[in-house]
């Protein structure tokens, strides 16, 4: 899912010249995640997977569903937010259905945190896939 999501975000933000997309995971450098150091650069984290039962059956061939969760991060200057920020948010949220993963439920949302002079936007994408 992560690879497809990065490609979708690259496409969705291709016209937003104030932002770039990184292929790197948002690892820590000097105890600080990369997106804090490189503002206006979008980082996509590793995908998490949670499996649960969609239909329980008597013969142990349960139909399961996998919930894939991936988060993307971008930090901006709180004093001078980029003019394309709102468009970035709108475009990124639509990427939930552009990942190439065949899913029956796609959700995306975001939260904002303030850290000193930075605003940190965390986007969360949740795709639910039936396994048969």
């Amino acid at each position: 899912m992560r690879t497809g999501l990065i490609a979708a975000i690259q496409t969705a933000t291709s016209t937003l010249t104030q932002f770039t997309v990184s292929q790197e995971l948002p690892w820590l450098q000097n105890a600080q995640p990369l997106y804090m150091k490189n503002m206006k650069k979008i980082y996509v984290g590793a995908t998490e997977q949670e499996q649960s039962i969609l239909f329980m059956t008597l013969d142990d061939v349960d139909v399961d569903q996998n919930l894939y969760t991936t988060r993307a991060y971008v930090a901006v200057d709180a004093k001078n937010p980029p003019s394309q920020l709102n468009q970035l948010i709108t475009n990124i949220l639509t990427c939930k259905s552009q990942t190439g993963v065949v899913s029956f439920d796609e959700e995306s949302d975001y939260t904002v945190e303030q850290d000193e002079d930075r605003l940190i936007y965390t986007f969360e994408f949740r795709l639910t896939v039936a396994t048969t």
Binding site: T57, L58, V63, D105, T132
Partner: protein, 151 residues
């Protein structure tokens, strides 16, 4: 006490279907991915009152027997069929007399089952966006008695 636990892999409740009298546990096919199964043995009664009794009088009348359940559709057993037996949809659509066994706790020697013959009814496959896998109820309307036996 000897409770019937169906949670072990060798003691699962299963429904076996065939279009010929079932001679062994490998006749016909097993309906896979059963979600639940219910055996209905509803003996009918006729009741009346009489002036010299303070309670109703009752006599039995013929039973209505059926097997009901729900299952997740498997393309092979629903459409194609298996082991020389047509798929469940065709068996229902063609009103074919089927023979069945419902195993209470697996199919190993000593396992209990009930058997009989009847017609498949009440297929109603359904699917929706939040549960995108086809499921359906199924009922076997039993023709005659349900017989309890041991493998």
């Amino acid at each position: 006490m000897a409770y019937i636990n169906v949670s072990a892999p060798t003691s699962q409740a299963t429904l076996q279907i065939s279009t010929a009298s079932i001679a062994s546990t490998s006749s016909g096919y097993i309906v896979p991915a059963l979600q639940d199964i219910t055996i209905n043995n509803a003996v009918g009664t006729f009741q009346w009152t009489q002036l010299d009794e303070f309670s109703n009088k009752t006599v039995p009348t013929p039973a209505n027997n059926s097997i009901a359940g729900n299952f997740v559709l498997d393309s092979t057993t629903f459409f194609t069929g298996s082991n020389g037996v047509a798929g469940l949809f065709d068996l229902s659509n063609d009103a074919t007399l089927v023979y069945f066994r419902v195993y209470f706790n697996g199919r190993l020697t000593g396992a209990k089952y009930v058997s009989g013959q009847g017609y498949i009814t009440n297929l109603a496959p359904t699917v929706n966006p939040t549960a995108p896998v086809w499921v359906s109820p199924i009922t076997l309307s039993v023709d005659g008695d349900i017989t309890a036996s041991t493998v």
